[in-house]
Symmetry: D2
């Protein structure tokens, strides 16, 4: 389980004075990238690989309270493998001083494909190690 | 029902070569803004009003095919009032030449609030007119 | 000379209520992309080509008046070749109804390189045609 | 003098595989925000204040080498007061392990105004303290 600290920046906000809704998903993706790096994955190569790609095919986000420029938050990330070629990530965004106060919650669904054929392929060994590293025991599922 | 044409721009893409997933929701929000303007709503005032705000409290997006820089798409928007203070918008993104080929689909949930108290308030008359204008007859629901 | 119409979107703004300064340069880049498309250039291929790349090595922008969500502007683009491997683009952003009222002005400097070696190479024939198409006569310079 | 560490994120990049040029200026603005916070300035209030605003009226950026997703950089910020109502900030972006290797350089010009009248006003005391804190001795200028 990874906890990624982030300060809300002016570029994350819009004229309504709070975080632009789509930027909430970008915050979450940063935590995903940080977790890949923590596992030793080279992001430059990962996102340009010729042999595999792991596009996000679904994203969802809920906002419980507004976030303002300068706010410090913690993004907690919990991945879970949900098939041979796919995993989900659940994100919970809270204030650093109150981990029980949910500000936002998001989920992304990632599918591993061959970038040329766009057909599903099994998750790479590096992604499987990353899943082993960051998935809490209670979320592990038997995949047969 | 509004059809908003949009060309994918380099700023919408990322190093994986396709539209960055969170940018998909921004495309949809542009269509929402265009529909408000089509109804005569002044966006500058709308997003900074002291008496009401209509934050998005939930967003979700599905990607069926990758979108590349330069691609031209049509974003079709269908709103639906789902309560005294709330409405949803369903977005379908297709190529201009093939309205049956779904590239992306998204949904946003908007709740009308008093920006000071953050309490729910009924949708404003302008938003109700906008809903009347853009909701297809089949989506109208009795709200009692 | 290309005139690119654009409406300011919520995603372009920040919590100060106006266009986020760096987003001003994105608006200009959109006009550049539109001019390349107008010349028949396939943007997906152009920005991922293995044989050449045309990175922006310098950008500058001046803001004369604030821009708000919903504002409609015209971005006028004037390119000029300034060397065998380089060209500049000057952008002027005005309201549609008053072409004499400058809202923003920007400039970008582009250099054609081999993406592998990052060494300068001459502008491609397609870019030279584009320059011929969009450069006003008064800006043409003898390059020997 | 502030040194702000930043990792390049996928959202900062574009389909050309490197940092989108306008995103370079956003990186710099983050360092500015971090320096204001380091001085105890509340960013939410700062960017929405009714009595003053400090819009950026000019920005410029030079790119010396491409930046890729996952790259770690240090943004060094040097402000300088250049008039009663104005200051500039110079930014230098380098790799953490080689402070002599310039990757990007940028400059922003900020003018303090009354947001209602858009007329210049003197820099606020908080901004003057911030300037005192972060301006190196050699950059101080006599302002008469």
């Amino acid at each position: 389980m990874l906890c990624y600290p982030r300060t809300i920046r002016l570029a994350d906000t819009d004229a309504a004075g709070v975080v632009y809704f789509a930027a909430g998903l970008s915050l979450c993706h940063e935590a995903y990238e940080a977790s890949l790096q923590a596992q030793g994955i080279d992001l430059k190569a990962f996102f340009r690989d010729r042999l595999f790609a792991v596009p996000i095919v679904r994203g969802e986000i809920d906002f419980f309270r507004p976030l303002y420029c300068g706010d410090r938050v913690i993004i907690q990330l919990v991945p879970e493998q949900t098939g041979e070629s796919r995993f989900e990530i659940l994100y919970q965004i809270t204030p650093p001083e109150n981990p029980a106060l949910l500000l936002m919650r998001a989920k992304t669904l990632h599918i591993c494909i061959n970038p040329d054929t766009r057909q599903k392929i099994p998750l790479t060994p590096a992604l499987q190690s990353w899943l082993t590293q960051f998935t809490p025991p209670s979320n592990e599922k038997a995949l047969t």
